[in-house]
């Protein structure tokens, strides 16, 4: 039995997908910020990939200097608002809070961060001006967290920046892939607009860079190129029945959900394959769409790569875990999914789990073709190989984000996109 009713309207959808980290009120932020101990060499800062001076911005919130707090955050992280909402703070800043070492609840750093940055965005308070033009131009492929972070930093340094985005909106996974209960489209896009207004980089939408000609044009017109293309479609399982209607990739599902909301027709029973955070998201999302969800993973619960809190979240909305099972075949009737044959990895027994949908959250493919065209070397896992300055084997190309990491958090992409900008500056010196 699922705990959520199938949403019939936008209102139902927002209710089922209520923000798990809602924006704080002034009062809540004041009381929460009062609790911060202002640790020396604070562990939360060390745990943040972008190194935000967290005790400082919390102290600024507490002294009613919210704009100062927002600037402290943006000085380290251009996607400060989005990161406050979508970061797995439980394993990053909040996980490092010293209050965890006693029986006190850690400071809600993510929500305080979104509180301050949200005020800056809503009042359109600008902290930065582009640097004086240095006459050099950089192309950024992909308007996701890595690309935008890189673009902002490059503009600060005085580069001209053009961003090319295959989709019709910026933000990358923040708008197209992150679970809707973590951030709303409006919030993600508002921050993008806020940044674009300040830094003045140009974004061309619906412009996919795919061919040798596309690359040649960029190479001829720009001094350096940054690649922040993320990952591709969900990988094939290579099992029978995979081609059936209603076998869907987790990333594709998330994207549908983020764009079509309650209009996505999720059937009554769904099996999600995988044990990573994407699988947990898919399970949570399907459950909130009113489905009965089974989360099938090939190893034990303990071996799941997903964060514990993500599994707990999926369980809390009704998803049930099924461990030590591997998919053998997807069974269909009239071209549609009717069940999935699973095999126990412990005793080899096979059984059929009836379902109407199978969501594959078993990894995404790499966008290898483009990278080959650009002459960029990949590592053994198909990720872009970069040096410490995020420069690829083709010196003119720099890269960061999921295409380099193989799939990390938004905050890692932001951190590395910025570092790549420093690499580009060094390269073009």
């Amino acid at each position: 039995m699922s705990e959520y009713k199938k949403p019939q309207s936008e209102k139902d959808f927002s209710k089922n997908f209520a923000q798990i980290k809602p924006l704080m009120s002034d009062t809540e932020a004041y009381y929460e910020s009062s609790r911060c101990l202002f640790c020396y060499d604070a562990p939360c800062v060390n745990a943040c990939p972008t190194g935000i001076d967290i005790p400082l911005f919390i102290r600024q919130i507490n002294s009613k200097n919210e704009m100062g707090a927002a600037k402290t955050i943006y000085d380290s992280n251009f996607l400060g608002h989005a990161c406050g909402k979508v970061c797995p703070t439980e394993v990053l800043c909040e996980g490092a809070c010293v209050y965890n070492n006693t029986d006190v609840k850690p400071i809600e750093i993510g929500r305080l961060q979104s509180f301050a940055t949200g005020k800056a965005i809503r009042t359109n308070r600008k902290f930065y001006l582009p640097g004086k033009s240095n006459g050099k131009k950089v192309a950024v492929i992909g308007a996701g967290p890595a690309g935008i972070s890189c673009a902002c930093e490059l503009r600060m340094m005085g580069f001209d920046v053009d961003v090319f985005e295959a989709k019709e909106k910026p933000s990358g996974l923040t708008v197209h892939g992150v679970a809707p209960y973590k951030i709303t489209n409006e919030e993600a896009l508002a921050e993008m607009k806020y940044l674009q207004d300040q830094f003045g980089f140009h974004i061309t939408y619906c412009k996919s860079i795919q061919s040798k000609e596309d690359l040649s044009t960029l190479e001829n017109n720009y001094d350096a190129i940054f690649i922040g293309i993320g990952l591709g479609k969900t990988s094939d399982l290579k099992i029978k029945g995979e081609e059936l209607e209603n076998v869907i990739g987790a990333v594709e599902f998330a994207e549908q959900l983020r764009t079509k909301h309650h209009q996505v027709n999720v059937p009554q029973k769904v099996v999600v394959l995988g044990g990573g955070n994407t699988a947990m998201d898919a399970a949570s999302e399907a459950a909130r769409m009113g489905a009965e969800v089974i989360l099938a993973y090939r190893r034990t619960k303990e071996e799941m790569p997903a964060y514990d809190f993500e599994y707990e979240l999926a369980k809390s909305v009704g998803a049930k875990g099924l461990f030590n099972v591997t998919p053998v075949e997807i069974i269909g009737e009239n071209g549609k999914v009717s069940g999935i044959k699973l095999k126990s990895t412990s005793d080899g027994n096979e059984f059929i789990e009836n379902c109407n949908w199978v969501i594959k959250a078993t990894g995404q493919s790499k966008q290898i073709d483009l990278l080959r065209l650009a002459g960029i070397s990949l590592d053994e896992k198909g990720r872009i190989a970069v040096n410490e300055e995020f420069q690829t084997s083709n010196k003119k190309y720099f890269a960061a984000g999921d295409a380099v990491s193989g799939g990390q958090e938004v905050v890692n992409a932001v951190a590395n996109g910025k570092k790549a900008a420093w690499g580009i500056k060094e390269f073009l010196k």
Binding site: L37, C39, D41, N46, V98, Y99, N101, T102
Partner: protein
Amino acid sequence: MADLITNLSGIKSPNPFWLASAPPTNSGYQIMKAFDAGWGGAVWKTLGVPVVNVSSRYGALNYRDTRMMGFSNIELITDRPLRDNLREIEEVKKRFPDHAVIASLMVETKEEWHQIMKDVTNAGADGVELNFGCPHGMCERGMGSAVGQEPKVLKTIVSWVKEVATIPVIVKLTPNISDITRPALAAVEGGGDAISLINTIQSIVGVDIDKFVPYPIVDGRSSNGGYCGPAVKPIAMNMLKNCAQHPGVNIPISGIGGIENWRDAVEFILLGATSVQVCTAVMHYGFGIIREMVAGLEQYMDEKGFKTLDDFRGKALQNIMHWEDLNLKYKIVADIHEEKCIGCQLCYTACEDGAHQAIGLKENGADRKPFIIEENCVGCNLCSLVCPVEGCITMERRDDGKQQLTWKERTLEGNIPKTFNDELAGGLHHWVPEPADALRKKTPLHYKSV
């Protein structure tokens, strides 16, 4: 069972908890409600020629998430006609004959003092409290703290009152003076039966940094207020101690200043108070706090085996010495209980920047628990005070407990530093880092490899 019955120079109440003369005692309604809730006595909002008040009247000092840690007011004495107050005093006394009703008074001339004394005595008040403390509004008219700051004037007015008094007279003192014992002695000399302290402290509680006006704001302007609340308790207790220890101040004392729970009351009684008066805490939380105060005091007394308040009144006074009589041989050092440490390193940074660089960090960043460098530790307590974990840093005794040497004794022996570069300087052999080490920013000063 502990007996809380209180007797301050003949003013009796079922417990030592009185409402101070302030907005909570503005009317018979409030005082009856308070007595019904369990308060032992009430000092009526100061009576005199009624005033006209302004709006607004209060400002607060909030500390982080704590509201009204300090509180300031510019309200004056009663703005109600005397006849209404007298009628209500009578009514309250009829309903609560065993509770203490004390009339706070503030008038100018001898004739007025004599008249108002007669009036409140007729109304049934158990005693009076002469308001020589109010530091705002009334003092400009030669009353309130203007009297409290002039011992001679204070003594004269007390003696006027005593000429006609048939009920006990408490003299309320202002803290806006350098030596509180001077007006206290004047009160004794004038014939006062008791003193009460402290009244509020002259203050600017805060400034609106956008409008450039201090709080509370009255049509774009402000005025100094009278400061009270938990923040003033240490000042009040020191003044209480000064009076209670003074052999000339041989009359009972009603303690006032930042009291909001039983523990505060016990502290005041240990420093010599006979009754305690409360205002800000009631203005913040209402009369209901009395339940916690009475229950806590009873439990404390039962646990300690004290049957009456007299059993422990002034018990801490004998342990308050002059600095020169403290034992210089007593040596404590900080001890961090690692199992409780949460790794905030506040002790490290406090000692490093605010004390004696006696706490180190381990080079291995994963272990954030600091360690004490005993030879540098002067036993100042700072680390244990900033530590957010109960019982994590304790101060441990290191001397053998057998030696006793005070500054006074050393002075008598001539064994004290006498010149600027004297070899006897206490810190001469105490390690201090080189100044330029401050700019070596790579690592903390004290690092221990682990």
